[in-house]
Symmetry: C2
Subunit: 242 residues, 2 copies
Amino acid sequence: MLVKAIYKDIYESLLSSLRSGEYPYQSFIPPESHLVEKFQCSHNTVRRALAMLAQQGYVHPVHGKGVRVTYLAHERAPFELGGLETFAEAAQRNRLDTVTEVPVFEEVACDERLAVDSGFPEGAGLWHLKRVRRIDGKALILDDNYFLQQAVPGLTREIAEKSVFAYLEGPLGMHVAMSKRTVTVEPVGEDDERYLDLEGFDCLAVVTNHVFDSEGLMFEYTRSRHRPDYFSFSTVAMRDVR
Amino acid sequence: MLVKAIYKDIYESLLSSLRSGEYPYQSFIPPESHLVEKFQCSHNTVRRALAMLAQQGYVHPVHGKGVRVTYLAHERAPFELGGLETFAEAAQRNRLDTVTEVPVFEEVACDERLAVDSGFPEGAGLWHLKRVRRIDGKALILDDNYFLQQAVPGLTREIAEKSVFAYLEGPLGMHVAMSKRTVTVEPVGEDDERYLDLEGFDCLAVVTNHVFDSEGLMFEYTRSRHRPDYFSFSTVAMRDVR
DNA sequence: GCCGATTTGTCCGTATGTATC
DNA sequence: CGATACATACGGACAAATCGG
């Protein structure tokens, strides 16, 4: 795919128009027919771009009327999250003073209990890591990562201290495609007290993560324990699937 | 729309096949061409159904190879959530012994601070409710609801004690279409101590909710405070938008 | 209430490109 | 290289909802 697909161009063009305020919150964007004119493509291609915007909650189509803007300018900060990036990854990208420690780095076989929770087949060879994320010198996040060895060969503690993600997408040539996540809130445990700067909190936000590559293979199961005052998680829920 | 759209039929047919285990986890479902044969429709219609399944994280298409199943049987319970339903609504639907109390029911005008948080225009007429959700006799959830009066006329305390949702979709003929949500974890406050059975927890899971109707109008802004041991929130994140 | 113009929703058949095996 | 399978795009047709005259 040398040039980007047309529908993606239209999607991005419209999105930047929304962000610039060209089409204000709760107004209607130009109809399909105009967009077909503007972008010189078929109506199906426009519709695809509109469907993408709608799926993300940026616009909402109303039968017979038009496509209404549901994107509020000040959403940018809070709602831009909820993609594939973890808070830790976002923090690492934006700040300079993030550090990752890896107090546990071991090979394990998937036991029955882990197989049920993770979806890995029982007996599968796994890397098990504990990772502590420090931001501004404070230990805020504790990860328990399980990686399928077959899918992530050659993992080392040094790589884990930098970015496993970069290792996957770089040298290994993998592509992370999808992640299923569940957020819960759990009481602080022994490990949390040992590794995190809790400052009196007795609960943590816990994100349980099943990660799939571009071939649909589940290769990572991770539980991340976040100190509450540094945690936020956003998403859009639709009544009807499109 | 007298008969359901074809692509929805195909979506549901495939989904039930996935649930029945006909196409096991990590296997490939039949190719587009076969599905076109089976359902007697165009490949575009099949693709649309497949895109819906992919969007929900049930399958993942692999270029040149096929469409792989990423739906694990035991996901049903945890991952089926994350739709439009609140935990409270789900609980109310499944259990008989849920009770809602409405200690606060008042009319307010949207002030500047609320306008920024909610996205309602400043000065708009709102209903403000506090609602306590009891499950098995325990006060577990505290809601602060703000409804746009213009969109939800005739709201009463009695309605709020039963189901505002049922009132919207029944008598008012509205259709709830989309909800933008952010999950955070916050320390217990005065109101929480007053209204909830905290049992020693000093943090709560807080879901902030912007709700849109089928016309794309934002008519509800709600913050729900959940006791941690009764809270769970699931979603699927995709790397690329489709 | 009806009718026509506008606009979104669904579906089809076809053509071409690209990744995998 | 050919066969298979997914990806993108086009153009057309008809349905359904909305709105104004």
